[in-house]
């Protein structure tokens, strides 16, 4: 039995035989073809090209439908390359004049393009070389008829374990048979990870090297809730997981019923539970699960998807889609929070190549020095504000001056709109993310100036404990239950209460059921979580009374170690909602 841990990007636990896909090294079996067969070989090349174009088009449609047209555009550029007359002419010439095999010709021609582009020493063009390799791969796959064909002709359920899956491969996974997948490489924000969530199959990325020890066919347990892959589990583990799956199926059904019920404690305290979203499409996941609104609408996708900066109308359209879908429910739009782990190409030149991007020019700092871009976003938010219940939130605020500057720019934009006679909500609530320890330390001062706080625990934990959670060597320091984090949250809640300002917790912490009694006991009344977690959170809230929550939070706050806090909270959760615990980890 071997266990590997990676980044959980799509939840669920599945067991099945493994299908291994190594990194693809195409071996071109023959470099020459028979002179008599030239016409047939050219025909074979065209047939492969047609199939590739068809695949690209269906990728484009699928991705456009699921994630929006701007993602589909990745594939329309690929299509243009696949249909390129120069490519076709040169490949045909190699086959006809030098009796080269189509495989060899395709590879030779495309690699010569990639090679020339890379030699130009131009960043934009050398990145294009990657697209060319992708096309080469697609064509060779068709021509050789091997490789990942196995993904298409599945007849029994499998769990895919791959070095990497391209976005197109992910988008076309046959979810009838592919129970889940895990990859050695990849990050949380890769397109592959995002697509896995859209497909709603369990997925893990960034496992590190693990394929060498797997030959295929072994039984594998893929735990998309905890980011674990267990290869060749012992019979005891299998039995435990199977038992857990049966119960988790039951609870999934019961949680489905939660969608229509309000998040209200046993003693009648209503708790607000909103959803965190990234793409406009996700708003329906929130509404479906009975969310009280959108507590965090990330806007980075607008910047990460295109080759140009989003226009005001790009922003406006994306915001209106969510705001209108929510009706009277609040939508908290967070301004650009980019940097560190995700740098869009179009802003790349502005990022300092510092040793510590987490501590560098990112997020609100970037918006404040890039006023035209910031104003475009703010204008769109304000314009969208007349269509519903919109709030604006600034990320990564670390000083009062930053908050004031951001607010001042917002006021400027309001003035401009007023001059132009464009309607907007003048008293739009203006809040900030609390994710830098300095903001917590000065929470009282901030509380006087903001309309609301939202605690972003992910960054707050990383900054407080000085650890990068994606670095396996120190990730163990990253604990939501660390007593220092509990105390910081307490400080924010006290300061906000004193000034009558609402607080939401919108980080990963608020999506984890075991932390809910603690947070409610501390006085929190508003959460924003990934939409998928909302039914579970409701279940916890509905099985809890405030007096119980207070007792739990008091005891948790008296403990010294993160480990003890989390262990205690886990115990309390299993007492409150025993079924729920069984579905989380084993």
């Amino acid at each position: 039995m071997k266990v590997y841990t990676g980044i959980a990007v799509s939840p669920g636990v599945v067991t099945g035989p493994v299908l291994v896909l190594g990194s693809e090294n195409f071996r071109i079996p023959r470099k020459y073809v028979n002179r008599d067969a030239i016409d047939d070989e050219i025909h074979r090349f065209h047939a492969a090209l047609e199939d590739v174009c068809r695949d690209i088009k269906s990728n484009e449609q699928l991705v456009s439908a699921q994630l929006g047209a701007q993602y589909g555009a990745i594939f329309s550029a690929h299509l243009q390359m696949a249909q390129d007359p120069r490519l076709i002419r040169e490949v045909e010439a190699l086959i006809r004049e030098q009796t080269r095999s189509p495989e060899f010709a395709v590879s030779r021609v495309l690699r010569s393009y990639a090679d020339q582009l890379e030699k130009m020493g131009d960043r934009y063009l050398s990145e294009r070389a990657l697209d060319i390799f992708d096309l080469e791969k697609r064509l060779l796959r068709q021509l050789l008829g091997e490789s990942r064909q196995e993904l298409r002709n599945l007849t029994e359920p499998v769990i895919v374990l791959a070095h990497d899956l391209t976005p197109s491969e992910t988008a076309t996974l046959d979810t009838k048979f592919v129970l889940g997948f895990a990859t050695e490489v990849g990050g949380r924000t890769s397109h592959t990870a995002i697509l896995a969530g859209a497909l709603e199959i369990p997925a893990i990325v960034g496992l590190g090297r693990c394929l060498a020890g797997v030959s295929g066919g072994e039984t594998v347990i893929l735990d998309g809730d905890n980011g674990r892959v267990i290869i060749d589990p012992d019979s005891e583990t299998v039995a435990r997981v199977q038992d857990m799956q049966i119960r988790s199926e039951k609870i999934r059904t019961r949680l489905g019923l939660m969608e229509a019920l309000p998040a209200e404690t046993e003693d009648g305290q209503r708790v607000t539970i909103c959803g965190n979203i990234e793409f406009p499409e996700e708003v329906r996941h929130c509404i479906k699960r009975g969310a009280d609104g959108v507590g965090l609408y990330r806007t980075e996708f607008l910047f990460l998807s295109g080759n140009r900066e989003p226009s005001e109308s790009d922003h406006y359209e994306a915001y209106c889609r969510v705001v209108e879908a929510c009706g009277d429910l609040p939508v908290v739009i967070r301004t650009l929070d980019i940097g560190a782990d995700k740098v869009p190409q179009l802003l790349a030149s502005q990022f300092s190549k510092s040793q510590n991007p987490m501590l560098g020019l990112r997020s609100i700092r970037l918006s404040l020095i890039n006023t035209p871009m910031f104003k475009r976003q703010l204008r769109a938010i304000l314009r969208a504000s007349v269509h519903g219940n919109v709030r604006v939130m600034f990320p990564l605020i670390s000083t009062l001056l930053e908050f004031r500057q951001a607010k001042m720019i917002l006021m400027d934009v309001m003035e401009d709109l007023e001059d132009e006679g464009i309607p907007f909500q003048r008293n739009i609530p203006i809040g900030m993310m609390v994710e830098v320890p300095s903001a917590v330390i000065l929470a009282e001062e901030f509380a006087r100036e903001v309309d609301f706080f939202s605690i972003g625990t992910n960054d707050l934990i990383q900054y407080t404990l000085a650890c990068d959670r994606s670095d396996p060597a120190v990730a163990n320091l990253y604990r939501s239950g660390d007593p220092s984090i509990l105390r910081l949250i307490q400080m924010v809640l006290r300061a906000a209460e004193k000034h009558g300002k609402p607080v939401t917790v919108c980080g990963q912490m608020s999506s984890e059921p075991r932390f809910i009694p603690l947070l409610l006991g501390m006085g929190l009344r508003s959460l924003s979580a990934t939409p998928q977690a909302i039914p579970r959170l409701k279940e916890v809230v509905r099985n809890l009374s405030i007096s119980e929550a207070v007792r739990i939070s008091q005891h948790a706050s008296s403990l010294d170690l993160a480990r003890d806090v989390e262990h205690y909270l886990q115990g309390e959760l299993s007492r409150l909602c025993p079924d729920l615990v069984d579905t989380i980890g084993f």
């Binding site: 701007q70 550029a77 243009q80 390359m81 120069r86 582009l117 294009r128 080759n307």
Partner: protein, 98 residues
């Protein structure tokens, strides 16, 4: 019967980053709507405007002057459409191309 023609013009590369992804995609897309042969020549290299690879390998930097040549039944309209893209700096309305 439509008249055949050849049109020659000069265009200047205006996008800041040279003839890169977006302008390139727009050129190919536009060129494909004409039946004429459309070429751009720079530094002795000639590129078929209907080929993204040709245009990429032309590697025309900002400020470069290219000769545009169109020939065929819709040569004049093609020359107009292609030079318009250059003149407007490949700006577009809406989200046609990203």
């Amino acid at each position: 019967m439509e008249s055949e023609g050849v049109v020659c013009r000069h265009v200047r590369v205006t996008p800041e980053e040279g003839l890169h992804l977006r302008p390139l995609q727009m050129l190919v897309r536009k060129a494909l709507t004409f039946s004429s042969t459309i070429t751009l020549t720079f530094d002795g290299r000639r590129a078929d405007v209907k080929s993204a690879f040709d245009l990429m390998l032309l590697a025309a930097p900002t400020g470069a002057i290219l000769s545009l040549e169109t020939s065929g039944s819709d040569a004049a309209a093609a020359a107009d459409a292609i030079s318009e893209l250059f003149e407007t700096g490949f700006s577009i309305s809406g989200s046609e191309v990203r």
